[in-house]
């Protein structure tokens, strides 16, 4: 059964230095509050996995939490580059960052396979792409029925999954609604999971086939209102597109980034 913890306690207890951590949310419901708590607790040497490492990973990488990044699209959507990610990859600041990159289709299938408890995902992918030349985790197998050559990638089965969701009921069942991304998959694929929620309610108000994660499939739940901002939570608040644009200026420069981090992360406590 999921345990209700403060965000501080959840991160402290369930994320260790050196862990493989997936913080997911496909544009929607990105767990920013949890990312900031990880920065505050100065977790180190994390292998970070995420299809679309955007601002939250840019911040964590810039803060020195990561040693490796596995991803399929790393940018500030609609704005441009992730300057902290680039600084780490290109200049090793604040530390060297190893990267391993996939396509979305491969990562989506790898999450599906991870949730399904399988060691590999099979997809019709990477045909003609140079990505297999630079990622030795991409292999090819032959279908035993048709002889077709198909791509295979290792499934994703992280130590910890971190997601944000709209709400939990008092038994610890969680509703995710709207762009549900790979939230269900990453929680089921992970050894441990932390779910931050906008609120804890008596009744989830879920429709019959809603994306509900049962309490017994979750390790810890922490209430974190606006925990996805500047991304958004459908039904609660909109995406702060202005901040996404503003981030480009903040992150471009190490000093402005560090000042932002000090004022907006380190000097704030967990929600």
């Amino acid at each position: 059964m999921a345990e209700f913890l403060s965000l501080k306690e959840a991160v402290s207890r369930h994320i260790n230095d050196g862990d493989t951590v997936c913080m997911e949310g496909f544009t929607h419901l990105i767990p920013f509050a949890a990312g900031h708590e990880i920065i505050r607790q100065e977790k180190r040497d994390l292998t970070l996995i995420r299809m679309t490492p955007d601002l939250v990973y840019d911040q964590m990488i810039g803060a020195g939490c990561a040693k490796k990044l596995i991803f399929s699209w790393g940018g500030n959507p609609g704005v441009g580059s992730l300057h902290r990610l680039r600084d780490a990859v290109e200049n090793g600041w604040p530390n060297k960052l190893e990267i391993l990159e996939h396509s979305h289709a491969a990562m989506a299938s790898a999450y599906e396979a991870g949730a399904a408890g399988l060691p590999l995902a099979v997809l019709r992918g990477y045909v003609g792409s140079d990505l297999p030349k630079v990622n030795d985790q991409i292999k090819f197998i032959e279908c035993p029925f048709t002889g077709e050559r198909l791509a295979a990638v290792p499934s994703i089965r992280p130590d910890v999954a971190v997601i944000h969701a709209q709400r939990a009921d008092r038994n610890g069942n969680v509703l995710v609604e709207g762009i549900i991304g790979i939230q269900k998959e990453v929680v089921l694929a992970a050894k441990r999971s932390i779910v931050t929620v906008e609120e804890i309610v008596d009744d989830l108000g879920a429709s019959v086939n809603a994306c509900v994660l049962p309490s017994w499939a979750i390790t810890a739940i922490a209430e974190a209102p606006k925990g996805a901002s500047p991304s958004y939570a459908l039904g609660y608040y909109d995406r702060d597109n202005a901040f996404y644009k503003e981030w480009d200026g903040i992150a471009r420069d190490r000093e402005t980034f560090q000042a932002w981090l000090k004022n907006n992360v380190f000097e704030k406590g967990a929600a």
Partner: protein, 268 residues
Amino acid sequence: MSLEYTSSEMMSVTAARALTNGMTCFVGIGLPSEAANLARLTHAPDVTLIYESGTLQTKPDVLPLSIGDGELCESALTTVSVPEMFRYWLQGGHVSVGFLGTAQIDRYANLNTTLIGDYREPKVRLPGGGGAPEIATSAKEVFITVKHSKRTFVKDVDFVTTVGFGRDGKARDNVPNIGNGPTVVITDLCILKPDPETKELVVRSLHPNVTREDVIAATGWDIRFAEDLATTPEPGARELEVLRDLKARTHSHHSGPTMPANNEAHRD
């Protein structure tokens, strides 16, 4: 009649015209999204737009800044998980057109969105593949729209993130269950299509007031022109009006004052 329009508007209107009712289009963010929604708001109201965030048959009123803006979900027929989107809807063969942008494109319509320079020592690190590698192979055909410049139109891309027709134009030959690949590239200068035999991109139509020299100067290889080189029809008044309204709505939506709650929150 002589309407005033920019080369960007010419590009978007031309790209939009490539889409027709009945197509199911997997939309990349940026220029493709602008063109696809312009098509939907003008001549192709029944075009089906899909974004990789899982939003099926979406009808945003403003252009999304990201592929997962709330607008996409709220206006969609339904929203599925990302694994389902890539496995069932794209790989399952339900997408007729993949509409992509790119950072680099070469003469065989290979796309590079990974990096400029060498992989281990990049001059510029770009965002990466995202959905494009498999959109380009699973969709029945691919439309590409990108601004024309020598930096973008290179003889050989530094890295094949997403295959057009490969380094030799033959990458799709004898590959089972693969789409037809890029069938048209729309820039702010012209329309290019692959040669049916060699798959090399050939200019098929110049936009009004664009010369062959303009295209040659903006292309990093010895670009060929079709024998029956056409002139692209100009944008219509309604297309321009709808496009400008869409961009104005989008601009005001994405840069308008954010809600106080959000301003607070992102500093938590």
